[in-house]
Subunit: 364 residues, 2 copies
Amino acid sequence: MQRADAIIGGMKLPLALAATALCAAPAYAQDNKQTAVTPNDVVKSAPQSEWSIIPDDELMVVTLAPDANGNPREFVVQLLAEPVSASWTRNIRTMARAHWWDGLSIYRSVDNWVVQWGDGEEEESDRKSPAKPLPADIVPTSEDDYDQAWQDGMASVLWGKNGRRPVGMASDEAAAQPGSRYADPYAAAFTYVRGIPVAVELQDHVVTDGTDPMTNTPVRMWPVHCYGSVGVARDLSPDAGTGAELYAVIGHAPRQLDRNIAVVGKVIDGIEHLSILPRGTAGFGVYATTAEHTPIISARLASDLPEGERPRYEFLDTQGDSFARYVDILANRSDSFYAVPAGGTDVCNIKVPVRMVEDAEADS
Amino acid sequence: MQRADAIIGGMKLPLALAATALCAAPAYAQDNKQTAVTPNDVVKSAPQSEWSIIPDDELMVVTLAPDANGNPREFVVQLLAEPVSASWTRNIRTMARAHWWDGLSIYRSVDNWVVQWGDGEEEESDRKSPAKPLPADIVPTSEDDYDQAWQDGMASVLWGKNGRRPVGMASDEAAAQPGSRYADPYAAAFTYVRGIPVAVELQDHVVTDGTDPMTNTPVRMWPVHCYGSVGVARDLSPDAGTGAELYAVIGHAPRQLDRNIAVVGKVIDGIEHLSILPRGTAGFGVYATTAEHTPIISARLASDLPEGERPRYEFLDTQGDSFARYVDILANRSDSFYAVPAGGTDVCNIKVPVRMVEDAEADS
């Protein structure tokens, strides 16, 4: 599995028009374009040393009932590493180990928003039926943990051993003026923790000197909502949710939810089993009938599966040279499909490459 | 139909935790939050004078074959008004009037990317079978038309009669420094043309004085790719496509496609009939078999339908006071679900309110 960028098109053009258009293009430009590097080229040529394995206990494998044609359905969530969102990921591990989600279901689907799973009973019965009791040892959570004070050790986690700056501050020239081509409308900077996108608050938001990443002192950080992000559903604030009810984003990044809901990870495989589910027609996009629910057969940490059955994934190290090049080429495409480079990109449009380890071995 | 913002959650919390959390919240903050205005409140209270009808010949109604359960499926595209993307929208009108898409199909679906329709024959047969001939009077298109030089008349279209500035430059203080909370990583500013998002290139990207929108001279503008945007599929550049093969975006805004493919409008109703289609498994997400295609029964301009059968939609005028307030509240939510206002928003996260006129009449 690799999150490949794919071009649109490949469809016919009336021959007369095609010939005209092709003749109008300077041959030099054409030749140039044909040899230009694509983001996928960079990913394919990244050395194995720049790929990082996701630990077994940071992977949750959710098996759904087969689809109407009997095809199996499974999706895999990469959980955030501690200390980020730790109270929720601890609860999620507790619930997975208690097999708490087994027999529950996906009960909500809202277009360009989220698909949500857990115990949908309460919704259907107007909050009067008893909900499934949670396992013991669920830890309290708090809004205070939506973001994370900067700690000494984080620089190496976020910036990397080589002191590379956050992607959202990649270009000095760009960052120094309005309309920065890596500007984020929601935060001062962004970067990635083990491939998962996070926003960073800086003590001084003005970038004065780009050579040293510590010129702007990081103050806080928080995981952000992108397509595929997994978060903790909750009731009205200040409820912070337990982790029992989870959702995955299936639309344009709803960044206004950042720091208002706990993000606990992202779907790294099988999100299409969530995103194509019919949308719910009752209040808040909940399904009107239980017949529309998608049953959850099981939800397990990979570390709790028999050794031979554990899926293994690796992501492209976001502090490595290949990732930096990948982002630069994403922001400035010049391969044959592109006439105008974007000149920038946003935190959610940079899809950190993830692949199954089996794939990688087959490739090499 | 109204593109309502909807909260996540509403699920149970163990009573002990909920009580603790609620007791910790200051009563004043709670009261304050309960009366805070939501974006939907602003939309609901907008005066009828701030709603604009979409002309019949800017609406294309696409009827698909009923789904597996026999439910009807229809989606509605709002086409961009001239001069924006005019060569493609003229072709699209020509093809709709020739009933060109009738009997063709949706042949491609890629997760977090696009769903595409038209004539899928060529893909399946390795480009060797004859494609369906296009109607006469198809006009040539060119990459030069992906963006639009600024014209005198545009100021009133984009900025509005009242001289309101583009949303992307809404706040002087914000725009004057890096990390502008309305900054766009892909363009100097953004705004909306009849509810459809566009990016604006300025002669001077530094905002020096916010009182006059003309301080920064607009040079060019182009429609952008957001969730629901409809564009013209094409082969490799410099092919610019005819409009015969169209796609709708069903994922996070792929802004790198801006100015590289023609955007011709957006889906304003029924996008869930596209976004939930199973993903294609052949190359580029094309369906492996024709059995997986979704047949198109008809595609018609609303102006070509019998008068009683024309759907009518109106959008909230993006130059009006209500829209300005709607954006401000979207960017700074303080209602009961939100603890931390985002402080900003992006062009694609501002969903311009659209509603059926029947709905509006029933409401009032």
